[in-house]
């Protein structure tokens, strides 16, 4: 590992000062489960490493102003054990349950996952379905943007973060009894399974148990997770009943064909996605008490 100076600031303010001062050659470290591999293998060679893992200010899960706020330093283990999440945000709970191994869940943070924005990452697909907003802060000020806008490559990052910025939190519209959310993924094996194929959905129902609104996302089929307007449109207006929903599975296959037509894995993924999508539909019906 190449030499660097190490900072462990005690407050976000101090961290932002250091970031602004050394922005040309500084790397932020939270859980370290992505960054240390890069440092160790020489993929990244910063002159300074800024440890934010001790910043309790960024470790919270709370509901306010109609939003669920997840602080950047929240680990996947914390998500997994949080009652608010397990009760009202089933797709986030599922993502935490699927992610990494016990050791990796203890270390890995939401902020690190979102900023890494890996093709094989879990949270981008899930947060896109939840219509998430990211909050970024630097000495210059605070800004917010949708996860969709955020997930566009910029310079050395696979997202829109600037060199002097910290990701502060991810926030999503608060759950209510008309929302149901689901997430399913394929990984290489149960533990340590980075995503090979994934899909998430957030459904909103009307009084007659018809689908009023739908957000459907597909993960690991393009540079960043994508929404499928085609599937969403097909779902809207449908009765919440497996027989009515099942024909939509064909559209998932068509979306995979369109996204990765030339890749050898398309033959598996075009079939596999139907199993994942059907699983999501079952989860949704179950959450509504309709099975």
């Amino acid at each position: 590992m190449r030499a660097f100076n190490f900072f462990s600031p005690e407050t976000v303010e101090e961290a932002l000062d250091l970031l602004s001062q050394h922005q040309d050659s500084i790397a932020v470290i939270a859980g370290g489960t992505d960054l240390i591999i890069d440092l160790n293998e020489g993929g990244k060679k910063p002159d300074y490493v800024l440890d934010i893992s001790q910043l309790k200010e960024l470790d919270y899960i709370s509901e306010s102003d109609g939003m669920l706020h997840i602080g950047a330093n929240t680990t996947f283990a914390t998500l997994e054990k949080n009652e608010l999440i397990s009760e009202y945000y089933p797709a986030i709970a599922k993502m935490a349950d699927y992610m990494g191994s016990p050791q990796i869940r203890e270390l890995g943070t939401v902020g690190g996952n979102v900023v890494s924005a890996s093709v094989a990452g879990d949270s981008p697909t899930v947060f896109l379905a939840y219509d998430a907003t990211v909050v970024l802060q630097s000495k210059r000020g605070t800004r917010e943007m949708s996860i969709e806008e955020f997930n566009v490559n910029r310079g050395k990052f696979r997202c829109q973060i600037e060199d002097d910025e910290l990701l502060i939190e991810v926030k999503i519209p608060q759950a209510n009894s008309n929302f149901a959310t689901a997430y399913r993924k394929f990984g290489k094996r149960k533990s340590l399974a980075i995503v090979v194929l994934a899909t998430a959905m957030r459904i909103e129902r009307d009084r007659d148990n018809r689908i009023k609104d739908a957000r459907v996302t597909l993960g690991a089929v393009s540079l960043h997770p994508m929404r499928s307007p085609k599937i969403e449109k097909a779902l809207i207006g449908k009765k919440l009943d497996m027989e009515e929903l099942e024909p939509v599975l064909q559209l998932y296959t068509e979306e995979i064909d369109a996204a990765i037509a030339s890749r050898p894995s398309v033959v598996y993924k075009r079939e596999g996605i139907r199993g994942l999508a059907k699983g999501c539909m079952m989860d949704v019906l179950e959450q509504y008490g309709l099975v």
């Binding site: 030499a3 190490f6 240390i36 440092l39 160790n40 283990a77 191994s101 016990p102 203890e106 533990s191």
Partner: protein, 158 residues
């Protein structure tokens, strides 16, 4: 590069050492403190051989910078046994025949200890999940799971 001062508690003993910051907790424990039960297998978080208990949680020490562990409490396998008595988990691993080459054993025992310290009576599924980040190339896992069940029962005096 400026050295950093590392104060932490390791196996119950306070330690204070200066070190370069571009090192992992794994390197510091093995090379500076001589705690060679902490094994380096894959170096990328996948095998669990480097598992230690940090502030009560099992973590992979190959994915922690030494500076990030300042002020923490670390337990390695060396910290488990008493003067002349093994930890129930160590004894159970011997009794159940759960050790072959032994390379995975420290990490397995520590992952299991973090589980038993948090949940006195885990079921088989919970035990399997707790060691799902630890690879063993010898035993086929069955005996390891049995050993953890045995330790669980002995700890509960069953």
């Amino acid at each position: 590069m400026q050295n950093i001062l590392v104060n932490m508690t390791v196996n119950g003993e306070p330690i204070s050492r200066e070190t370069a910051p571009n090192r992992r907790l794994l390197d510091f424990l093995r090379e500076d403190l001589g705690l060679t039960s902490v094994k380096e297998g894959c170096s990328v978080g996948e095998c669990g051989a480097c598992t230690v208990i940090l502030n009560g949680k099992a973590v992979t020490s190959c994915l922690i910078l030494v500076g990030q562990a300042i002020g923490t409490e670390v337990v390695t396998l060396e910290g488990l046994h008493g003067e002349d008595e093994l930890d129930p988990l160590q004894q159970a691993f011997i009794d159940a025949g759960a050790v072959q080459c032994g390379f995975c054993t420290p990490g397995m025992i520590l992952a299991a200890k973090a589980l038993l310290d948090e949940n006195e009576e885990p079921d088989r599924e919970q035990i399997k999940r707790s060691i799902s980040g630890n690879l063993c190339r010898c035993t086929g896992y069955e005996k390891i799971i049995e050993a953890i069940e045995l330790a669980r029962d002995r700890r509960l005096n069953k």
